[in-house]
């Protein structure tokens, strides 16, 4: 459907964009910090990680956390990092396994300035979200699309501001971070703002030909053995956290509340307008045009980062889980699994086709988190009937399911799950699903970074408060 004006503007807009976006929305890692060439140039739209778990302190709900903006330096003022005003952010839930999202949560942000005559982010100490000294304020709306019925469920909510430092944002978490948690419609809660990046990994070594510092002497190209380095430790990210009653998911799935093991698929996606131009060549006049176009998506950690080949990474970001069959071959014969025996001589891995990897990453695991009749697609799949093993996210077994926690990754993903080590060992076959390979050394593979550098909160939104710009670089 095209919208036009009587005077022949003839441009596809409004609902026209709506229908077109069907194709685009419909075609909708780790982490996926800088995982694909195109999105690397657009950090504000770059999904970095998605987490989904039964809330440890409120087990009748699930919590979904989606992060954007990789490697966010806390000291990056005076225009501190923020969500994109021209970006559409989404968290998608598939409650029946058909690879179509049944509930979409859409987030739109807007930045307002109180005083345009100063360059300052804040004009004095900021003691509350409504403090007049906070000059640059970002607010947002949450729109819920529930099976085709759209409703704004959160309006004029304030994004937690940047943690500037002790003069500007004293007692940050008490005054600002914790105050940015909102109760919204249908028993749901939401938070948006900067947080400590909860992902932990030795990226510097991993991307140096799959190096694992503790195993440096076992690598084909030897280096001195060393402890792992958490390269994410200095950085923040921007989180959107949602807490959703499980009963709501069952309602969407059409299953009664007493029906067991509802499994929900979770992924996030990001959209930009089709074109960006500088009007009349004026660098101060940025104009976005055209319908929304999906530029990033993320469900399971590490899939697009290390499973999808370089030539298909941008396609993955632009595509819809419904079409993930196109990536199936790469999952059945993953490159990293083929590299492990080459880079670590003596390690043997299961032969292709890797149905175990396909189950973990694409279909869900029988008896754990595979929806009945589900379609293969890349999402985090969480069995919401499995209650949290332990309430404190800092005390969960970092190896998740492999460590004996049925509520851990790859059944959902908790903040403390060591998705890098779990994925490495899974690719090496060191899981219960391929018992013949669940042996040493396969089940000892790891990057040597076992936990986040700061503790997680024990309450929603669970992600740790952001590092202060003042402390950056220490």
């Amino acid at each position: 459907m095209h919208w036009t004006r009587k005077r022949r503007y003839g441009v596809l807009t409004g609902a026209g964009a709506g229908l077109l976006s069907l194709a685009l929305l419909a075609p909708a890692g780790a982490s996926s910090h800088r995982e694909a060439p195109l999105i690397t140039e657009d950090p504000v739209a770059d999904n970095t990680d998605v987490y989904a778990f039964v809330s440890p302190d409120k087990p009748d709900t699930i919590t979904v956390i989606a992060n954007w903006i990789p490697f966010e330096d806390p000291a990056g003022g005076p225009n501190f990092h923020r969500f994109g005003d021209d970006v559409l952010y989404e968290i998608n839930l598939d409650v029946n396994g058909d690879a179509n999202p049944d509930i979409r949560y859409q987030f739109r942000f807007k930045t307002t300035v109180k005083n345009p005559d100063t360059f300052l982010y804040n004009t004095g100490p900021v003691a509350s979200l409504a403090d007049k000294n906070l000059n640059v304020v970002q607010t947002y709306t949450v729109t819920e699309d529930f099976g085709g019925y759209k409703q704004v469920i959160g309006n004029k909510l304030t994004v937690a501001p940047a943690n500037v430092g002790p003069r500007s944002t004293p007692d940050y978490e008490a005054n600002l971070g914790s105050k940015a948690v909102y109760d919204i419609a249908y028993g749901q809660r939401v938070f948006a703002g900067p947080r400590d990046d909860p992902f932990f990994a030795d990226l510097g070594s991993i991307f140096d030909l799959a190096g694992l510092r503790p195993l440096n002497q076992a690598h084909l190209i030897k280096q001195p053995t060393a402890n792992g380095i958490d390269n994410l430790a200095p950085y923040n990210t921007h989180s959107v956290a949602l807490q959703i009653p499980i009963a709501k998911l069952r309602l969407a799935a059409g299953t009664p509340n007493d029906q067991p093991d509802p499994i929900v698929g979770v992924y996030s996606s990001t959209y930009r307008r089709q074109t960006r131009v500088f009007k009349d060549g004026n660098g101060a006049e940025l104009r976005n045009g055209g319908p929304w176009v999906q530029v990033s998506r993320l469900g399971m950690p590490l899939v697009n980062e290390v499973v999808v080949p370089l030539g298909a990474k941008d396609l993955f970001n632009a595509s819809n889980p419904l079409d993930d069959a196109q990536f199936g071959a790469g999952v059945l014969n993953p490159e990293v699994a083929r590299l492990i025996p080459v880079l670590y001589p003596g390690v043997t891995v299961p032969p292709a086709p890797r149905n175990d990897i396909a189950a973990i990453f694409l279909t869900g695991i029988d008896g754990l988190n595979k929806p009945a009749g589900g379609r293969a697609s890349e999402m985090i799949r969480l069995n919401t009937a499995i209650k949290p093993t332990i309430a404190d996210p800092n005390k969960q077994n970092r190896m998740g399911l492999l460590g004996g926690d049925r509520d851990g990754f790859p059944n959902g993903r908790r903040l403390g799950d060591d998705s890098v080590d779990i994925a490495l060992q899974a690719l090496a076959g060191a899981t219960p699903f391929t018992p013949a390979f669940n042996i040493s050394p396969n089940n000892l593979l790891g990057d040597g970074v076992d936990r986040n550098n700061v503790p997680f909160l024990t309450r929603f939104p669970y992600v740790a408060p952001p590092k202060a710009g003042y402390e950056s670089g220490k």
Binding site: G14, A26, N100, K156, A218, Q326, D366, G403, G446
Partner: protein
Amino acid sequence: MTHPIAVPVRTAGMTTYSHMRGKRGARCALLVVIVAVSSCSGSTAGGHATSPSSALGLPDLSQVSVDVTTPAATDAPREGTPAPSPREAVDRFVHDQLAGDTDSSYDLLAAVDRTAVRSRVAWRHAQSVLPRVRSFDATVNASPPASAATATVRGDARFEPRLDEINGLVPARASVTWTVVREEGGWRVAFSRTVIEPIYPADSGATESSRAWTDAYQACKEPPNEIVYAAGVVGVTGIGAALCGSTAAKLGAPARLGDRPNPAAVLAAFGPEADRWARVIPVSGPRSFNLVLAPFDDRWVVVGVLVDGP
């Protein structure tokens, strides 16, 4: 997060690594060479070293075939669903949409649209981003020649008005030209080729809403809710307060958004279409700025406050 040194040990042609986690891991590291790794299992937050499959009740997936490479197909329409005439195709389509019968309206979608939409489920979900027709009265409905592959049906429509930062503006009234295509011996609606010409309220309404907005701030009050965008005005929002106590605010003539500098905040929020539907009322007085208004239902609402520059 200390890590003991990993000691590769070659035994029977296979390298075994003693990289383990923490102190418990270090003990395990020695054991791994000497005895079965299973003795190291159960470390608290450390690496797992044995199969917990029996305890977890999980299957051996190595031999299980999983279908991960079959592409998703497009749902076909039910048989006998094309309408006998262009007018009836549109009438039935609008009726089904009004009734929320998306299965039936999907059957009336032209093939090109079904290919874009993919499935009945996706079509049902798409309703949230499509304009909701409240009524449609055909005014032009010429019978197409027997050989025609396409036809049009024109008329006046009323929509459920909407304004948001995801799908933009849906006007309350519009002239609509539906395109229908001949398929399977009947007619179906080429929804993506349908053209809507919005009918907006008169521009004078934008001036009236702006006057109410400035009057309220000059009286040191918040403006009435019905003339302000419910999800929050974009731009330099603190400027209204600068009018408090003054009587000097003067309104200029309505202008197009594109004719004013710095519209980026409004365009970022509502999309490029805002360049067409928005009206700008310049305000001069204690501060000079521009109010940006959107046509919502039968009135204009303030959606942005922009300044020309520093």
